[in-house]
Structures are given as C-alpha cells and as structure tokens.
Amino acid sequence: MALATTSRLLDRAALGLTVALALFLSVPVVLSILTGLMVNQFQGFSAGFSLRWVREVVEQYHGAILLSVWIATLTVLINLVLGTLLAHGLRRTRVQWARALEEMFVMPVAMPGISLGLAMIVSYGALGGFRTHWSFILVGHVLFTLPFMMRAVLAVMQAQRLDVLEEAAASLGAGPWRRLVDVVMPNCRNAMVAGSLMVFTLSIGEFNMTLLLHSPFTPTLPVGLADAYASLRIEVGSAYTLIFFVLIVPLLVAMQFLGGSPRGKAL
C-alpha cells in the first residue's frame, strides 16, 4: 500500500506535517548556503554571486579549519586502535563486567561537554605546554568519540559467526593476538569504516568541550564558527557555515549509505 494508514485524511495530514517539518529543517540551511554566496545580503541575488565571503573566511580561519581536520583525523586513527582493542577485550570479558565497562565508557557522552572541558582544565591546565597544544583538545575528542567506535565494532564482533571462526583459527594454532589480527579485524572492516565516519563527523563539529579546551594558539572550526557568528556580518557566518557543510554533508551521506548514522550530541 502506498498509503500509511487506511484513512486518506490521516494520510494527507501526516504528509503535510512531514513536509512542513522538512521545510523547517531545510530552509535555514539552504538560506545560509545561499547567503554565503551572495555579494550582499540585503540585495539578495540581484547583486549576483560571489565567492568573496568564502575567500575571506578561508583567509581568516584556515588555521582553525585545518586544525579541526587534523584533530579529527588523529581522533579517528587513535580510536580505531583503542576502540578495536577495547571491543575485542570486552568480547572476552564476562557479561556483567562487560556491560558495566560499556556503561562506564559511555559516561563522557552522557556528561555535558563543558563539564568535561572544565574537568580537564582543572586537572592538567597548569601544564602550560600541554594546555596550549592541540593534543589537549585531541584527548577530549578521543574520550568523547571512543564509545561510538566501540559500539560500532562490538556489535559486529558479537555476531555468532566470528566466535566460530576464532575457534577454527585456534584449532589451527593461532594465539589471541594472531586471531585478532587475522580473523576478527578483517571481518569488522565495515563497522570500522562506519565508526570512523561517525567519529570524524563528531570530532569536526564538537564545540562545547572544545570551547574550554582550546587556546588562542589552537582554535578549531566550530570555535571559529562561533567567532564568525559573533562578528555580526551574516555573510561571513554563512560562508563559514557553507564550508562546514561542504566538509560534513558528504560524510553524513556516506554514513546513511552504510546504514549507520551519527547519533552524537549536536550541541
């Protein structure tokens, strides 16, 4: 049936509501993209297109943009290692402990980002070199995104088939490390890719924690965004947002393709 319910009226109403919601979500996005490409916001498109604002943003903020990409990449790589090892270890752990550990690792996601940032500053803020280095931010991002990689990989690892494959490998003489590398990891490739996309997206957009963790020497993309918005020049803010979309939308589309979606906190 093409209809969702057996009542034409209910169907039409639901469709209307859905379309209205879609407009609500998409119109501002489209507007901001367009504004970023306009010559002058007040004149609209009658004044023509221009990449001037985009260029201005790139000039002013390219450091922040590059740093964000750099941190996101490193976060992905580190979490691939940590997350895969962690998930594999959890598989081998007794169920009650495994669940408790899982809950524990989720805590950084459950807590507000600013609390985490505060905690980091309070503990390590005094270490000047560390405080103003990008690794300060990196650490926060790793903690915040680790549970997503862990979950993605763990879900696949817990499939029955993998257990049997490991047993077969063991009967042929493979030890725990070899089994992980030769049997488990190759079969988790999809999950690792999905997890990586998720982690990258979350890291690029992370703001709350990063606002506290960054320093004038280590601005990131979202921090730059907030700065641009505060500048009151709406074209600049729009252009910067446009760059952000260009970075993030392909990732989101790729993730929907793979069947997963980022469920991180969009704060």
Binding site: M1, A2, L3, A4, T5, T6, D11, A14, L15, L17, T18, L21, A22, L25, V27, P28, L31, S32, T35, V81, L82, G83, L86, H88, G89, L90, R92, E103, F105, A110, M111, P112, I114, S115, L116, L118, A119, V122, S123, V142, L143, L146, M150, E166, P176, F207, N208, L211, P222, A226, G237, T241, L252, V253, Q256, S261, P262, R263, A266, L267
Partner: protein, 274 residues
C-alpha cells in the same frame, strides 16, 4: 582459549587513556567543587540557591517541552515515513535526518536565519504588511532556544521511531481492522503502544541532550538563563571555579542517570544512540 592475561592486554590501552583523562579529571573536579568558601557544603547549598534553582527549573521546563513536542511530531511523521511510499520519500527522509550532526553553534546560526532581525519570519512578516519596527524576532529568547533544540532533536528521534515502526507486527493492525477498528483506532490502540519503547528511549535522550546543550545558547545570546550557560559564565566571567564545578557535576549526574534509566527501561538496542 580465553586467557585472562590477553584480555587485560586488549583492555589496557583504552582503560589507561580513560582513567588518565576522564576519571582523574572528574575526581579532581569533584575536589575543586569543594575548594570554594563553603567547602563540601557547596554541593548542598547550590540546591537551595534561588538563582541556580531558577535556572535549573527553566532548563528543565525547556528540555521537557522540547521533548514532548519532538515526540509528538516524530511519532506521527516517523510512522508515516516508515509506511508510506511516494516519489520523493527518500529525499524527505534524508532532509529530516541529515541535521543529526549539526553542532549547537550551527543550529544557533540557523535559528538566527529563521528568526533573527533579518530572518525568514521577520521578512515574511514585513512582506505581509507588518510594521518594520515590530518585526517578529524570536531568535534571541527562550523561543529561539526552543526552536533550536527542536532542530537537532527531531532528526535523532525520527530515526529511532522509524526503525521501530519498520519492525512493527502488521498482523496486529490487520487483526484490529477485522475487529472493526478505523484508521484512527488502529493508530491509537495498536501502533502507539507499539512504538512506546522507542518514544521513551528517544525521549530520554532528547531530554538529557537538551539539559546539557550549550552551543546553541552560546550563539544566540549570553543572557539566556539555562544551566549550562550559568556554568559557563561562572567559570569565564566570574572565575568562580568551585560553583562551576559543583553545578557541572550535578548536571552531569542528572543526564547520566536519565540515560541509564532509558537504557534499562527499553533495552540497549533502542537506546544505543546515547
């Protein structure tokens, strides 16, 4: 085959990083909370302070209303999208779920695009003959915050509802129909109870997220009185580290508890988004 030694090796790296950069800082934060003038009593005092209580309550009210509104909208649209098929359905679905990963700051900006001084609503009002001095500007108030929170809550809940709606047992609906149920009765008596677990789970996540949300409020204005903003201003503007710490920990505890409740109430499969 499961030698404990190797298990520890596998768990060690993540545990070390976690302990060093989360557990330790958390403990320190806890200590810092008690380093203010009232010492450990600060954790209790804060609960009595009217200013903090007020901001806590308004945050609660905001998070609550956003949750209820989101759930109502997503229940209808999520079930509809799961069932209906029409030409542009994939497009509609994509539009409704893509904003998932937008950070709060971006959402704040989008709210300004909608409801700022030059926003869509203001311009539409003017086009309809409104007086320029009283343009409808809602972005910089709780309304704007509400709209912004709705913006990032809807995609997430929509996904959960859709996933659950896909798995609903159609036989139940057909059985209800053969017993004489109209489309509305089927929705009320069969479909709604069926998606209830998804609604509870995503409602809890929505609530916890809204409680701890910061970026949107930050973009819209620093004078909006929600708890995360209070924490931020205590820290940056007042340099009141102890109070900021205390408030952070209370807020963190609350959101963590809500999420745990959601996971245990409905099974982790549905609440996996936390």
């Amino acid at each position: 085959m499961r030698t404990v030694g190797w298990t520890r090796v596998f768990l060690a790296p993540a545990l070390t990083v976690f302990a060093a950069f989360f557990l330790v800082p958390l403990a320190r934060l806890f200590a810092v909370g008690a380093a203010g003038p009232s010492g450990w009593a600060a954790y209790v005092e804060v609960l009595h302070n009217t200013r903090y209580l007020q901001s806590f309550l308004s945050t609660l009210a905001l998070a609550g209303s956003v949750t209820i509104c989101t759930l109502c909208l997503c229940a209808v649209c999520g079930v509809y999208l799961s069932r209906a098929s029409f030409a542009f359905k994939p497009l509609l679905t994509a539009v409704l779920t893509l904003p998932l990963a937008f950070p709060g700051v971006v959402v704040g900006f989008l709210v300004i695009m909608l409801g700022g001084r030059q926003g869509v609503v203001a311009q539409a009002g003017q086009a309809l003959g409104g007086d320029p001095g009283s343009a409808v500007v809602f972005a910089y108030s709780m309304t704007g915050l509400f709209v912004g929170y709705l913006y990032f809550s809807i995609p997430r809940s929509m996904l959960t509802v859709m996933a659950t709606a896909d798995k609903l047992d159609r036989d139940l609906e057909e059985a209800a129909r053969t017993l004489g149920a109209s489309a509305f009765a089927v929705a009320r008596d069969v479909i709604l109870p069926g998606i209830r677990p998804a609604l509870v789970a995503s409602g809890a996540i929505c609530f916890a997220t809204a409680m701890g949300a910061f970026g949107t409020a930050f973009t819209l204005a620093t004078k909006i009185n929600v708890l995360p903003m209070v924490i931020y201003s205590e820290f940056t503007l007042q340099a009141n580290l102890a109070i900021a710490a205390v408030l952070s920990l209370w807020l963190g505890l609350l959101t963590w508890l809500v999420l745990i409740l959601a996971r245990s109430a409905t099974g982790s499969a549905v609440a996996a988004a936390a």
